[in-house]
Subunit: 198 residues, 4 copies
């Protein structure tokens, strides 16, 4: 039953396997950078990685799996919550992380794919979204505790901050600067901004 598929399960210790993995994943980001997720084909990835098409299929059965694999490092950055003492600054730091991710092809592909209706992607993407939003909620929960914002504003601010940064390049030719991240944070956390300034 498991044999019928002959699917690759884990990464072998040997150098060969890990090289294949590395080659495929970097080929994937390369392919994502031109064409985005919509233009991502297993065929092209395999060719770019110098690997047989079936080999890719064995380890990553779907396009979504490939995306997930390549997305992991970006999401890992959201696993640490900044804590500088100032909510406003914490938020700004998070926005900078978002910006850094959004500049990478994988990051672009993420926002592109997050709108997809495909079932396989839906789960992956909503999980990733929650992971990315988590530090925002953490920082803003602290802001609530410091009485800088009302509790019921928390989610709204997280929403505005996160997507404001994610979608920045949609409307602006250049990526967010650090100063603009600060502006955005101050706009959304006026009380915290005052505290930091004075």
């Amino acid at each position: 039953m498991a044999d019928s598929m002959r699917r690759t399960l884990g990464v072998q210790k040997g150098a060969r396997s890990s090289q294949v993995v590395k080659a495929v994943l970097s080929a994937t980001t390369a392919e994502l950078s031109r064409g985005g997720y919509a233009g991502l084909t297993i065929e092209a990835v395999a060719k770019a990685a110098g690997v047989n098409r079936t080999t890719v299929y064995r380890r990553w059965p779907t396009r979504a799996a490939l995306l997930a694999a390549v997305l992991e490092p970006l999401l890992a950055r959201y696993d640490v919550v900044p804590d500088t003492g100032s909510s406003c600054h914490d938020l700004s730091v998070l926005l900078q992380t978002v910006r850094d991710n959004a500049e990478l092809p994988e990051g672009q592909a993420f926002t592109e794919a997050s709108r997809s209706t495909s079932a396989e992607l839906q789960d992956l993407m909503s999980a990733a979204l929650h992971r990315a939003l988590a530090p925002f909620h953490a920082v803003l929960t602290r802001a609530v505790e410091r009485a800088e914002i009302e509790p019921e504003q928390r989610d709204l601010i997280a929403q505005l901050a996160f997507f404001g940064a994610v979608m920045w390049t949609q409307t602006h030719p250049k990526p967010l600067t650090d100063a603009e991240c600060d502006d955005m944070a101050q706009l959304l956390l006026p009380a915290a901004a005052d505290a930091g300034t004075r």
Copy 2:
């Protein structure tokens, strides 16, 4: 020369043509509602419209053209700038418009497609984005004139408001309520909110 491509140019007077157009466009929204833009195939649209595939190609040479056609009514709603006297309320009205659009399959497809790297879409989508953002800028320019916000905050607020509303359903199971639109507007325009309150 016009003959050389044998492409359908305008809608004929006859009932036949206009019926075809209607059938195809509504089939397009139907197909968009399941599968989104990524899952939109001319084949399926044609079948759902009870029309031959080539007929679709003649009038809408690309998938993007089909999307543009079906998107037009939504974008038209952004052509009127609300003017209720209160900037905060104007903004809220715009957010409600965004929400209404985002609930429709065409609207979802719009945000999905706007992230695409495809050349044909790029132009169409950036034009649509500008059209959708225009009323936001108009309303906020009035807010600047009323000294409710700083001039340099204008674009930033437009950005946060627009994408905050557009991406709402990414993080929330239910669409924006009118009250939430008000909250969002007040958060972004605190001075104008005060004015309206007093």
Copy 3:
């Protein structure tokens, strides 16, 4: 009933109609010269003639009809039977006629189309073949009367002579010369050749 088709039946007196006919027919030979009968499309003919596609269809409902129209002048040359006194020379003259026709694009298309299995062509082509073979039979019948060949050889010789000339360009880069026509005639009618020589 007849109106439902709205088919053009005869050539109108006016200059316009006859001009259309001329333009289409010469466009047809032009198209035949590149692509042959297999590559002949109504679309291309209409465009080359500067005429609408439907106009062509009305007057020549099928590709075969177009071919027939353009073939007529070539077949007309077979309606006169040479009579120089020498069977051998008569045959040579016929072979030269075949060669002249075979050099024209219509002639090439004729031999190409004559092998077709299409029903509409079958009739047209077999009729044309008979018309082309008729003078051969006439000349050879005279040869039989002159006791230059056996009666039962008549059809065989006609067959060899006609197709030998028609298919000449299949195996030779240059068309038949007059001398080669003579050689061929003498080979097939040795008795008549002797008579002419002495």
Copy 4:
């Protein structure tokens, strides 16, 4: 590089592949028998063979390739030169081979296609023609050596004999009989016929 086109190159060991090949080729001759080469569509061949259309394309990229494949056995018959001692009889044997081939749908398609102007066919067909004419030239070269014909008559006789037989069914309802083959050979090789008779 071999992967880049994903084209089927050779016949695999497995029974599957060879069965596909067999099915497609016999379907091709079946389709040729109705419609001829002009009416041959990959679509119909695939359907008749119970095979997917793309599978056909992979192994035989063009219609011409399909024809060539199906033609090969017929052409192979021309690779052996008859040598019965009598030039006249040798020629008759060749004519019978031509007749046998011309009765098969592939043979009909061959003569049909040989008149085509298509580039892809041109090469294939001229090569096939040379292959078919080769034994004629061989037999007639022997006849020259036996002083039965003049050297400069050789090609002319080959031309007349070959095409006379090939085109036989154009003008006759029934295929060539063996006796008629003999007649034709004797007509073209009178000296050799005498030798055989005495």
